[in-house]
């Protein structure tokens, strides 16, 4: 099976994806798609992107052999793809550097973004400061309160943070509000979306900017182990770090992949076919089609939808999806901190937690690559207060 041709020209991954937004935004999405497809092929753009990824973000990130974690389970060799070592502490910056370089080329001077916990907001504000662009971040009022430190970081970086008072006042509503801003401002404004969700071309574009995770991991694993990994494990909220890790391996049949959702926000595991924020995908909804609010200890996974490509990969059974509870994620958080001296982001702790189920089933001859999508400093305060 070939995966490189997806999505199709109209942005569909099988029956998922597409472009479901008010007409006001359709011309902006057409312009963005056209410009992105053109600019991404330019050698100058690639060079510039690589320059910043290497010298500013700090890539490549290591593929670290987790010795004590491996010993703990006594089975497969466990590797961590260290996205937590990126500048700003998560994989989000891979995407924001790419998108804002594109914005600059398109001559858009005003940048808008949504954020949940604030990681994508910080990554956007960082890239906006780097490229001298105006930056406005929409954040649910509830999240503004919970993530005061990230709000302050964004302000330090020169961004304006707008608390969103509509709906459930969390990430879903922040996306709504950013799209509403864009409806009135698309001629001079670039929407820097943080995950592989939303209308075409976002699921494709965000994935492309995150592919670097999987491309590096593949090379690194081949160099160390002289073979491909047997399993890839990554957490899935919208699904950008996981699609980045998985995608370069999709055509390698022997590599199994597992996406780990948060139990209280498991759009793939517990959702159904619907449209949210401009794309057809698995979403959490009531029997009459209202969007459900979600509950996860991890703000980055606390989202009612998922990227359409993940829904597609689930449907064709190329990737397996599962969910872990808040309690299991917390155990993963503590385990990695104690055993490896790495405090993971609560999001990434979901992937770590799944090892409890997976590792005991595997042999010493096998290996697992886990995406450590971010570091956990941001979560320490909240966990301390539990």
């Amino acid at each position: 099976m070939k995966f490189s041709g997806l999505p199709d020209k109209s942005g569909h991954f099988g029956k998922f994806g597409g472009r479901f937004v008010p007409e006001t935004l359709m011309p902006a999405l057409e312009e963005l798609t056209e410009k992105y497809c053109e600019i991404r092929k330019e050698p100058e753009f690639k060079e510039e992107l690589n320059y910043y990824l290497e010298n500013y973000v700090g890539r490549p990130t290591p593929l670290y052999f987790a010795e004590r974690l491996t010993k703990e389970f006594g089975g497969p060799r466990i590797y961590l793809k260290r996205e937590d070592l990126n500048h700003t502490g998560a994989h989000k910056i891979n995407n924001t550097i790419g998108q804002l370089l594109l914005a600059r080329k398109m001559g858009k001077k005003r940048i808008i973004a949504e954020t949940g916990a604030g990681q994508h907001g910080v990554a956007t504000a960082t890239a906006a400061a780097l490229f001298n662009l105006e930056c406005i971040v929409y954040m649910g009022e509830e999240d503004v309160r919970r993530q005061a430190l990230n709000v302050y970081r964004m302000k330090l970086l020169g961004a304006k943070v707008v608390p969103v008072k509509s709906g459930s006042r969390t990430l879903k509503d922040a996306v709504n509000e950013t799209l509403r801003d864009w409806m009135a401002s698309s001629t001079d404004t670039f929407y820097c979306l943080g995950s592989c969700v939303g209308p075409h071309p976002y699921p494709m574009m965000v994935r492309d900017f995150q592919l670097v995770i999987g491309e590096e991991a593949k090379k690194q694993h081949l160099a160390i182990e002289r073979k491909l990994p047997d399993y890839l494990v990554a957490c899935v909220g919208g699904g950008s770090n996981s699609i980045g890790l998985f995608h370069p391996f999709l055509e390698d049949k022997t590599v199994k992949m597992i996406g780990v959702e948060a139990y209280g926000a498991a759009s793939i595991s517990n959702g159904s076919f619907g449209v949210l924020h401009g794309a057809l995908a698995d979403i959490l909804q009531t029997k009459t089609g209202q969007i459900k609010t979600t509950h996860s200890i991890s703000a980055g996974l606390d989202y009612s939808g998922v990227g359409p490509e993940h829904s597609y990969l689930r449907e064709i059974s190329r990737v397996e999806y599962t969910a872990v509870t808040d309690r299991q994620a917390l155990q993963g958080f503590k385990k990695l901190s104690k055993l490896e001296g790495i405090i993971p982001a609560l999001e990434s702790a979901h992937a770590i937690a799944y090892l409890e189920k997976l590792a005991p089933k595997l042999t010493r001859a096998q290996s697992i690559v886990v995406c450590l999508s971010g570091r956990g400093d941001k979560d320490a305060e909240e966990i301390r207060n539990l």
Binding site: G18, T24, A28, G167, A184, V275, G278, Q285, T288, G289
Partner: protein, 247 residues
Amino acid sequence: MRKRLEIFNKRKALITYITAGDPSLAATEKLIFQLEASGADIIELGIPFSDPLADGPVIQASHQRALKKDVALADVFKLVAKVRQKTQIPICFMLSFNLVLKYGLEKFYDKMKEVGVNGVIIPDLPPEETTHHNIFLVAPTSTEHRIKLIAERSAGFIYLVSVAGITGQREQLAGNLRSVIGKIRKYTDLPIAIGFGISNPKQAAEMANLADGVIVGSAIVDLIARKKYQQVEKFVRSLRVAIDADS
């Protein structure tokens, strides 16, 4: 050419928007008759949704009020069936695509026909994602190739969005409407109604002068939110007078 809504043959149409179930289905039923008596030509019924992307704060709040009463699409179909025993005023739905998907796409269009809903606006469903002929939106940002596509696929009338942005009352409407209307006219004879942002009789008259009809929503919903039902009647009458005087 798809079928046009006949009311446009008689006069410049006044289209009034209310959210079904705000503050209750019984109130909506009364409001439909009240709007008709006050001079509305078409009733646009919003179906409440948790995340109405194209709507500003006033209509968002009306959706929230209706959702508190658990009003679902099936209930609104029942309501229309009931009012159809007394009135034939054209009724159009405005709703988010997810509600249609969840109800069942074909079942939705069958039910519209069965109970007598005369058209549907699904703001987040562009013509390239459907084979059905809806009342599609044209925006001030729409490019000519998009206007052509929309014109070819529309039925009933064309909904011209007066400003780039969300619904809600505004002082200033987009300056390029006349040129957008010119472009639409190149591709279709369907009536054009202008909506989003029209909040007083003066604006309504100006817009009716440019096009075949005007759509007023947030200004009415705002009165309903404040329970000023008498003023809804007065306000709609004043819109009617202004539109008729100018045409």
